[in-house]
Subunit: 221 residues, 4 copies
Amino acid sequence: MDAYRSSHTRGDSSDEGPIDPIRRQLIAARRNQILRAAVTVFAEKGFHRATTKDIAQTAGIAEGTIYNYFDSKGDLLIGLMMRLSRVESLDVELTDALDRDPREFLVAVACHRMALIEQNHDVLRAILPEMLVKPDLRERFYQQFARPMALVLERYVQARTASGEMAPVDVPLAVRAVQGMFLGLLVLRILGDEVLQARWDDVPKVVGALVFDGLSPQEGE
Amino acid sequence: MDAYRSSHTRGDSSDEGPIDPIRRQLIAARRNQILRAAVTVFAEKGFHRATTKDIAQTAGIAEGTIYNYFDSKGDLLIGLMMRLSRVESLDVELTDALDRDPREFLVAVACHRMALIEQNHDVLRAILPEMLVKPDLRERFYQQFARPMALVLERYVQARTASGEMAPVDVPLAVRAVQGMFLGLLVLRILGDEVLQARWDDVPKVVGALVFDGLSPQEGE
Amino acid sequence: MDAYRSSHTRGDSSDEGPIDPIRRQLIAARRNQILRAAVTVFAEKGFHRATTKDIAQTAGIAEGTIYNYFDSKGDLLIGLMMRLSRVESLDVELTDALDRDPREFLVAVACHRMALIEQNHDVLRAILPEMLVKPDLRERFYQQFARPMALVLERYVQARTASGEMAPVDVPLAVRAVQGMFLGLLVLRILGDEVLQARWDDVPKVVGALVFDGLSPQEGE
Amino acid sequence: MDAYRSSHTRGDSSDEGPIDPIRRQLIAARRNQILRAAVTVFAEKGFHRATTKDIAQTAGIAEGTIYNYFDSKGDLLIGLMMRLSRVESLDVELTDALDRDPREFLVAVACHRMALIEQNHDVLRAILPEMLVKPDLRERFYQQFARPMALVLERYVQARTASGEMAPVDVPLAVRAVQGMFLGLLVLRILGDEVLQARWDDVPKVVGALVFDGLSPQEGE
DNA sequence: CATGAATGAGCATTCATTCAT
DNA sequence: AATGAATGAATGCTCATTCAT
C-alpha cells in the first residue's frame, strides 16, 4: 500500500486504535532494512551498477518488496539523505560550541564534522557521486546540509570578527573554504588516501590549529 | 584498426615512411574531437545518462567511429584524465613558486589550483563522480594528481617548518587539509554554491590569508 | 475456503443447519460488491490497466479478499458475464413481443436491446474488449447472448416470412445484420459518438423504421 | 536513429544525393516487416499478452530493432492504424458510387466495407479491442474512419431524402445505424459467428436489400 | 473470513558494442 | 577509416497471487 510511504498520521474513521503505531514501526523497520542494504550496495558498486536485485538480496527480501516502501530506485538515495538529515539535526552539539572561544569552537566543529563523516562514510560515499550529477539531489543536499552549516559558521565568524576575537576576513569566502575543507577531506578519504584513513581522528586538532593559527610562524612558539 | 589507440610506430608491412606522423596527427585530432564532445555531454548529463549516441552527435560523427579511437565508453573517462594530466604538467609554474616566501607561495599555489579548476571545470565535473565510484579511476587520479601535489606541498612545508619559516604543524595532515580545501571548493562549486560561482577569482587571496594567517586576530591589525 | 465459490451445500463437519442460506446471502453480497467495483474500474481503465488493488480499494476491501470469492482476476470477467446473463433472462419481455405485428416487434426488440445496453453500458464496456481477445470469453458470450438472440430472431423472421408478413430475405444473414446493428451501435457509442450518446433513446424508433421500411421511398409518404 | 521514425525529407547540407530515397525505402520495408509481425501476434494473443519478444521473433529480428523504428509497443498500434488509413483512402471507389441510385449505392458501400474488413480482418482484430479502451486510439479511429464515413453517408442520404429518392428518415441516427451494422458485423465475425465466416461475400447483397427495402413485405413481391 | 505484506515471474525499454558495407 | 543498423543482454518496475496472522 501507499500508506507505507507516507508518514502521515491518519486521523480517520477506522476503529483500530493502537494498531497504527505498531504498523508504523514495522514500516520504519523495513525501510531501514532496505536503506541499510542500499548503502552497502551503493557504496560498493555505485548507484548505477547497483541493481535492485542486489539490494533486495542484500536486504534478504524480494525485489518487489522494495517498491512497497520506495517509489523508485532513485528514491532510495533521497531516503538515505533524509536519514542523514535526521542524524544531522544533532547540531545541538554545535550550538553548545557557539559560546566557546574561537579556537575551541573550530576544533569542536571539526570534531563534529569528522565524526559525522566517519559514522556516515558509506552513506556519503553512496550519495555524493550521484549528487554531483543530479540537480535535484544537489539542491536538496545544498539546502539541507551545506547552507545551514554555512549560515552557522558565517554568523559565528561575523560576530567574532566584529568583536575583534577573529581576524577580519572575507567571511563568506572564508566560510566556504572551511566548509570545503571538510568536504574535501571526505572526498580525499573516499579517494583512498591512506594517511587520512589511518589518522582520521587526528584531523580535527590539525584543522583547528591550521584554520585558527595558520601556517605562519607564531611568536611564542 | 586498433593501431590508432597505441602510439607505437608500427613496424608493419607498409613501406610508407612519412605518412605515419600525419596519420598520428589525424588520429590525435579525432580523439580530441571525441573527447571534447564527451566532456560536454558528461558534464551535462553525467557519465551514465550520457549515451554514445549523444556523444557521437555532439562530435558530429557516427557512433561506430568512437570505437575506432576508444575501446569503450569508459575509456573516454581515462582519455579525459590523460588529457588533464598533460595540462597539469604545467606544474612548472608551481616550481617557480617554491622559492618565494610562504605566504606568496600559498597564494601562488591557490591561484594555480583555482585557475586549473576554472579551466577544466567541465572535465572535472565529468570525471569526479565516476572517480568516486570506480577504483581504477580513483587510483589513477590519486597517483596522477593528488599524490604528486601532496608531495610537493609536503616537501615545501617540511622544509619551511624546519627552517622556522612556518609553524611546526603535523605536515601530512595539514597538507591533506589544504589539498582537501581545494578539492572541496571544487565540489562546492559543482554543487551550485552561488558565492563561489560569482567570486571564484577572489578565492586564492582568501585561501592564502586563511591558511597562512589563520583566523586568529593578528597583532598589527 | 473454496467452498464460497461453489454453491454446493457442504456436507461437512459442522452441525449448523440454517446458517447455510444466510452465509450464501453474505457470499452473494460480497461477490456483488466486488463485481460492482470491478465494473467501475474496468470501465474506466480497461481490464489490463485495472489492478486488483484498484478494485479492492474501490470495493472498500482488502486485496486478498477478492481471492476468497474469485479464483483470479480473469474470473471477475466471467462473473460479470454471468450477472449479465441473469439480467438478460428478462427476455420474457421479448417473448411477449412475439405476437405483435412485425414493425411493433422490431421496435420492441430494439427498445429492449437499447435499454439493456444503456443499463449495462459499463459492464459491456468492461467485457467487450477482452471478449474480442479471449476465446473462452468469446465462446461464452456467443453461446449466452448472441446465439439465443439469433435463434429468437430467426424463428420469428422465418415464421413471418413464411406467412408473407415479412419480405422473403436471407434469414440467417439478415438476422446477423440486425444483431450486428445493435452490437455496432454499442461499439460506436463506446467509441464516443456524441450523437448516439445524446439521442440514445431515439434509436429504437429509427432502427425499427429503418429495418422494417428500409430507406426506399414509401408510397404513402 | 530517430531519422527512421520521421518521414521528413531532409533538405540539409549533406552531399549524398540519391542515398536518402533508398534509405527511406529500407526504413519503410522494415517498418512493414515489423507491423506485419505485430498484426500476427496481436491478432493471436491480443495486445497485452503479446510481448515485444514475440513480435521480434515473428519478424525475425532482434527485440531492440523494433525500437529503432517505433517509439514504443503502443506505437505499433498507431502504425497499424496509419497503414489502415492509407488503404482506406481508396474511398475513391466510394465516391464513384455516389452517382448511382440508392439501392446500388448501398450495395456498393456494403461491398466496399465488407471487402475492406475481409482484407484487414487481422489488423482490425488487433486494433479494435485496444481502441475500445484507449481514449487516444479511440479518438484517432473516430476521426479517421468513423466520422468521414458518417459524413459521406449523411450527405448522400440527406440529398436523396430531399429529392424524394429516399424515405425521410432521421438522417444522423439512420446513418449511425448503418455504420453500426458494418461495425457490428465485424465484431460478430470476430466473435466467431460461423454463418458470417462462411458467407461473408453474401453479406453486402443482404445488407443492401435490408437497408433499402426493409423487412416489410413489398407490393410487387 | 479478512487482511495486506511479501513475493517473483514477467516485460518493455535502453544502450554499449559490433560489423557488413 | 567511417558509417549506422542490428543486436541482445541487462534492468527497473508492475502486479496477480499467496499465506501467515
